[in-house]
Structures are given as structure tokens and as C-alpha cells.
Symmetry: C2
Subunit: 331 residues, 2 copies
């Protein structure tokens, strides 16, 4: 069985090194903005901020800026904005998935309740929009609003596809483009735009962000199938439990016999024990895990291709390496 390798935290730190100081400054904006005098608001928000983790989107934004030009004041604000939006979606996702742990911590819904998680997510979304407006740029507000709306639309489409064993690869990619790639694309676009990049560089960096986002989501869906819960640090097997068809399953359904399809439907629609364990042999029979891994790799290769023509710089090289990293991660 394919197991995803686990790149250590030091690798992540090394990857971010061309923007280490800038990331720290964006982190400071993020935390300062979310402080509150009200004890319960402060407690909830501080806890929520712990759940984010990898700071992938701020890193993408700052690296895109540095690969395309110079980091400006607006970049710090916008890096905090994209992380705030990402955190909001995580907190709401954990409600939708009834998830209990994330990054080895209890989720907001598990520690408090769904109500706290809904309100915290709303608070983060709305604060992010306010913060975006402080750049004085309606372009920033528009791109952030649009990308976030596409994230939500992707999530609604995914909900509409629950239990749909006929979901096509194309429909799966439409969902992924919204729920994940819209925000990574937007992060790279904002980085490039505010660094004064020309149209071609902005387009290339945005496209890099989009394809990296798709690769990232395929890898994330794979983790839900083949990851080890203790390593990943969040509740796994939720896609199957929530009847969300992801790429390995869609691939298997394309190739399997009518009998096997019936077996998958039974696993999908009845609440049996160890569904994931019982599904895996079928996914392996049709090389569906490997197929998904290779598909993710194709998006990685395309993402790298987009930016390979940019002027060489440590930031560009990091973006090239990060594209590889997102499909090799295990958490």
C-alpha cells in the first residue's frame, strides 16, 4: 500500500527561509488583529488561531511577491487576511465533518460546540474582509471576496455531490478548484500584483497557485484514505463516512465490475465498521491510489512549469520546491 512520506517540520522551515522574517511579521499582524478585550472572544479566537498550522497561504503570497518583485506594506496585511480566511474555513469544515481533532488539538466544535465554531468562523471571515479593506485597494477586496465565495461554492457543490457514485472526475476537479485552489491562486495573485509584477508574471504565478492547490487537495484526499491518524493529527476517514467521492474512489468506480460497484455502494450507504479498511483492497486492485498520486504529480509538474521561466531567485526556487512538498506531506 502506498504510504505518503512525512517531511519533517525542519523541511518546512527551510522551505520558507527566503521569507522567514516577512512571515513572522505577517504572523504578528494576524495575532494583533485578532486580540480582543472581551475574555470569551479572546479565548475563542486565540484557540482558533492555533489550528491553522502550516501558514501555507501567507508563505505562498510572500514568496510570489518576492519572486515577482519587492515585498510591500500591503503584503503583510494580505498575508494575514488569507490565513484568517483559511482558518475560518478550517473551523467551519470541522463542524461540517464532525471532526474531533486537528493538528493534534481538539477542534473548536469538540472543545466548545458547533455554535462556538460557527461564530468563530464568521468572526474570522468578517475580520479578514475588514482587514483587506485597510489596504485601500478595492482590487484586493474584490479578489479576496471572489476567491472566498468560490471556496464556499465549492463546498456547497461538494455537499450536493454526497453519495453520488456517478460523480465525474471533471465535477470532482470543479469542486477542488473552488474549495482549495481558489484561495491558493488568490494568494499568489495578490503577492504578484502588489509587488508590481507584469501581466504575464501575475498570470503565471496565479496559475501556479491554482495548480498547486489542486495537487494539495488531491494529496489531502489521499491522506484521508491512506494516512495514519496519529501522524496526520486530524480525524481521518471522514470523506468516506460523509459519502464524499474523491479521486481514488471515482477512478475505481470507472474501472470496477458491476458487482464491485454494488459492494462500494453498500460500504458507502450502510454504517459498517472499518469501511476504509474494506474499501482499500478494491482501490489497490485498480491502482486507484497510484492513479490519484500521479494525477497530483501532473498538477505539480504543470505548476512548476508555469514559473520555471521567472528570473531565478531563492523565492522562485522555494515555490518550485513547495509544489513537490505539497504532494509528499503526510500532515
Amino acid at each position: 500500500m502506498t504510504r505518503l512520506a512525512s517531511p519533517p517540520q525542519v523541511l518546512l522551515d527551510a522551505l520558507y527561509s527566503p521569507v522567514r522574517e516577512e512571515l513572522a511579521r505577517a504572523e504578528q499582524v494576524f495575532r494583533e488583529q485578532l486580540q480582543s478585550d472581551h475574555p470569551f472572544v479572546d479565548e475563542l479566537v486565540s484557540y482558533g488561531c492555533l489550528l491553522g498550522g502550516k501558514r501555507l497561504r501567507p508563505a505562498l503570497l510572500l514568496l510570489a511577491a518576492k519572486a515577482a518583485g519587492r515585498i510591500m506594506r500591503e503584503h503583510y496585511t494580505l498575508a494575514a487576511v488569507v490565513e484568517m480566511i483559511h482558518t475560518a474555513t478550517l473551523v467551519h469544515d470541522d463542524v461540517l465533518d464532525d471532526a474531533e481533532t486537528r493538528r493534534h488539538l481538539a477542534t473548536v466544535n469538540a472543545r466548545w460546540d458547533n455554535e462556538a465554531a460557527v461564530l468563530l468562523g464568521d468572526f474570522l471571515f468578517t475580520h479578514a474582509f475588514f482587514l483587506a479593506s485597510t489596504t485601500g485597494s478595492t482590487t484586493a477586496c474584490r479578489l479576496i471576496g471572489q476567491a472566498t465565495n468560490r471556496v464556499c461554492e465549492g463546498e456547497i457543490k461538494q455537499k450536493g455531490s454526497r453519495g453520488n457514485l456517478d460523480l465525474t472526475e471533471q465535477e470532482y476537479f470543479q469542486i477542488v478548484e473552488g474549495k482549495t485552489a481558489a484561495l491558493t491562486e488568490c494568494s499568489c495573485r495578490l503577492g504578484a500584483l502588489f509587488a508590481g509584477a507584469d501581466d504575464d508574471a501575475t498570470r503565471r504565478l496565479s496559475e501556479y497557485g491554482r495548480q498547486l492547490g489542486i495537487a494539495f487537495q488531491i494529496a489531502d484526499d489521499l491522506l484521508d484514505v491512506v494516512g495514519e491518524q496519529g501522524v496526520v493529527g486530524k480525524t481521518l476517514g471522514t470523506d468516506l463516512e460523509k459519502q464524499k467521492p474523491t479521486l481514488p474512489l471515482i477512478r475505481t468506480l470507472q474501472l470496477c465490475t458491476e458487482e464491485e460497484r454494488q459492494m462500494i455502494a453498500d460500504l458507502f450507504f450502510t454504517d459498517s465498521e472499518d469501511r476504509a479498511g474494506r474499501l482499500l483492497p478494491l482501490l489497490e486492485k485498480y491502482d486507484a491510489i497510484e492513479y490519484a498520486r500521479q494525477t497530483a504529480q501532473r498538477f505539480v509538474d504543470d505548476a512548476r512549469q508555469q514559473i520555471s521561466g521567472l528570473a531565478p531567485s531563492p523565492a522562485r526556487d522555494t515555490l518550485l520546491a513547495m509544489a513537490e512538498f505539497v504532494v509528499q506531506r503526510s500532515n
Copy 2:
């Protein structure tokens, strides 16, 4: 027992008459913006839009604009924005309150589930922010972002105050200023600003919106205690069930004996039948319903006072009448 009178829909229609056409145009923007090619997205969003109802915030925005100057293109967009945000908060509120009906319709969480309601609310919030940015005004984006964030903060504070029998009137008003008054204030401010009102008129109309919002919320809290479910068209008694202290209860707790306080605590913290019915005699004993009604009326009077000095116009007169209306409504 005080019963709130029920102003018929025709009264509402008459009130809005100075901006009837403008409201219809804003409604068109609202609906067009939320159309989707994806069947499930479209179904969910269309249903959610039915739950809004009174269109109070767009009406305030357009009336403030007309009372202060001329209605501009941006006003239609912003009227749709404030209604979208209001609808988002309603849809999420119904999740928080486990409410089953609103405006005589099943809530989104009741008809689908909490997940659908969380996603629909997020979709509406984010679309509203995108739409605000299309005005090309960062001031609009900032005011909308800020007001919406204050709404969420108010809701979190309210959650933090659950079961707190020591909540003061001042703390209650802080919650209400956020969760309700921030958006009515913002609606009036945007109306005035984009009509080119001077600083004094903008300040007066904003303050009118704030005080009207507080009065509105006190009346809404009163309905939860003394309203008739069949007339109001939404689940009642949820404040008590959710252990939210509102003004009549806070007033009673200020005045009652230690023994009565203990009785209230028992009603609050044990899941007994007909809690509202058992609490009412105590509220009446201390004239707490009447006290809350009079407090709401004071905010109404102050709101009217703010705008009484504006140049006379049908729009200003409607705003004066609306302030009375919000405390007399029964749904």
C-alpha cells in the same frame, strides 16, 4: 399581560412607499447576484432568500439616502449587500438556536441540515463582500467589514453570557449594539454617505440607525417572551431555552428576592416544561415587560430626535414612522 400589536403588511408597504421602486431594483440586484448554474447551489440560495422577509436594512439604506440627498447607482448594490449579510446572519442564527421555523417556513437547518445552513451563510457573507467591492469604494468595504465583524463579536459575547444571571444591563446593551445595531447603523451610514450627505447629517442618520437597531432588538427579545408563535412565524422561547438573559429577565433579577432568584435559576438550568409560562408571573410582578417596552420606546424617541432636524421629506417622515414601527411589530 402586554401583547405586542400586529401591524399588517399593508402598513409596511405604505411605510416603504417613498422608496418602493428603488427597493424593487435593489431586490433585483439581490436575486440576480445570487443566481447559480449549479442546481444545488441555486436551490439552497433561492430558499435562503425567502427567509429574509421585511427588507428592513435595504429600506433604511435607501430611505437614509433619499432623506439626505439623491439615490445613486451604488445604493442599489449596497442595499443588496446589507440584505445578503442580514440573511447570512439569520441562517447561521437558526443553526445556533436550533430553530425550526422562520417566517412560517422551515429553516435551512430544519429542511436540510446544519451543514447546509453553515455553508449557505458563508456563501452569502462572502458574496456580500465581493459585491461591496464592485462599488469601487474601500470605504464601503471597510464599513461593511467592520459592521459585520461587530455583529459576530456581539453574537460571541452573547454566547459567553449564556446562563450568566449576573449579566448587567450595560453588558446586554453591548451585545445588542453589536449583534443588531451595527448593521442598521451601517445601513443608514452608507445611505447617507453615498448620497453626499454632510458630516452632521451622516452622523445623525447613523445614530438614528444605531438606536433604531437597539429598540428593534429589545422588541425582538420581548417577542420571544410574550409573542404568539403562530403570529410571529418563528420558534419562540429560544432565549430562555438557550439561557440568554434578555432585558425583562435582567430587570427582574435586579428587583426580585433571593428566593425568587433561586426559582429563576432553577427554571434556567433545569429542563422543565413550559419554562416561559412559569417565568411570566415573575416578570409581570416586577413590571419587567413594561420596563423593557419603555426602554425600547426611549431608544425610539432618541432615534427620532436625531433626524427630526433634517429637511422635511417623505423619506425622513418614513424614517420617523419606522422607528415607531419596529417596537410595535409582532413578527
